[in-house]
Amino acid sequence: MLRLYHMYRGCMHEFSICQNLVDAIVNEVNAIQPLPKRLLKVHVALGHLRQIIPEYLQFAYEVLIKDTVAEGSELLVRTVPLEVKCRKCQWQGEIERQAFICKSCGSTELEMLTGMELYLENLEIEVEDAEGN
């Protein structure tokens, strides 16, 4: 059996992208009126073709949220599959990263529908209710 080991550290590009994420979160949270009590969860969409490793992003996130409004929040990464549409036969569906070939007719003339996403989708916050709780 093949043993698999992953290195949970990552490289600079995950840090660079994660800094953009933290900046975006801080801007969004500060724009909410009244200011939320707490930021609980952060949802990010990540296309499958992007070479950004969710675990690396996670690691960078924990480092970079220190002393920001996002401290203590949880990062949830949703991977968006690589989906294409065939220009020849109109087939539409998911493919693997290693073979940009239509699964129906074998054509290589594909239009990418999803797979390059990299955005902040959603914030879950705790706000004070009418009674001030």
Binding site: C11, H13, S16, I17, L40, Q51, Q98, Y119, L123, V127
Partner: protein, 215 residues
């Protein structure tokens, strides 16, 4: 009370803004910029050294050399007598659009037709960052193995051209060129592929013709 807030924030947005500014400048000045990406030692700088003689006949070009450290690559290109700047990332594994933008503005833009950027040696990270280029070009040497396109699909998917370099070494190493080309086509059937050697000059002509053709 819990609340969910829908937001849509492109995490590459800031980089994208700088890349767009660069595209605006390039358009106004009618300059074509290309972004050369490959592993450390793939032969990117050697390719630029040899490209010069054929390209400079009718194309005025400058080079932006991206590296983690040292100005060695820019110094290698100094004898060519073209504008060359060294971009240092101080540890980062890729060039970002803002750095490229400022380096571009310092070039003599009124006297240029083309800017060639040599990105930091790396097959992963530079592919993620748009720097405002017209085309990404992947450089892969025959000593790196046939399967690189499959392992780094994003770069090869995005590349308008792939240069398979150091073909003079083919008789000396176990490397299946056909398998390498097949792997590239499996990721990107539309890309233009050039097999060449900067050492012997074999195949350089077709590559430079292509470079001129995207002007």
């Amino acid at each position: 009370m819990l609340k969910e807030i829908k937001v849509y924030r492109d995490l590459m947005g800031a980089n994208e803004e700088w890349a767009q500014k660069t595209r605006d400048v390039l358009k106004e000045k009618n300059i074509t910029m290309v972004n050369i990406i490959g592993s450390p030692g793939a032969g990117k700088t050697a390719l630029l050294e040899k490209t010069h003689a054929l390209l400079a006949t009718d194309t005025r070009f400058a080079v932006l050399e991206g590296d983690v450290e040292t100005t060695r690559d820019a110094e290698r290109l100094a004898p060519l007598n073209i504008p060359v700047s060294q971009l240092l990332t101080d540890g980062a594994c890729h060039l970002e659009a803002k750095l490229v933008h400022y380096a571009l503005l310092d070039l003599p833009l009124n006297d240029l037709d083309m800017v060639i950027v040599e990105n930091v040696g790396n097959l992963v990270c530079p592919a993620e960052f748009d720097i405002g280029e017209k085309a990404k070009i992947a450089v892969l040497s025959v000593t790196e193995g046939e399967d690189k396109a499959l392992k780094y699909p994003l770069l090869f998917r995005e590349a308008e051209a792939v240069v398979v370099s150091k073909t003079d070494l083919l008789p000396h190493i176990p490397f299946n060129l056909e398998a390498c080309l097949a792997a590239i086509k499996q990721i990107n059937a539309q890309t233009s592929i050039f097999t060449l050697s900067s050492l012997t000059g074999d195949g350089l002509e077709a590559w430079v013709q292509w470079l001129k053709s995207i002007r």
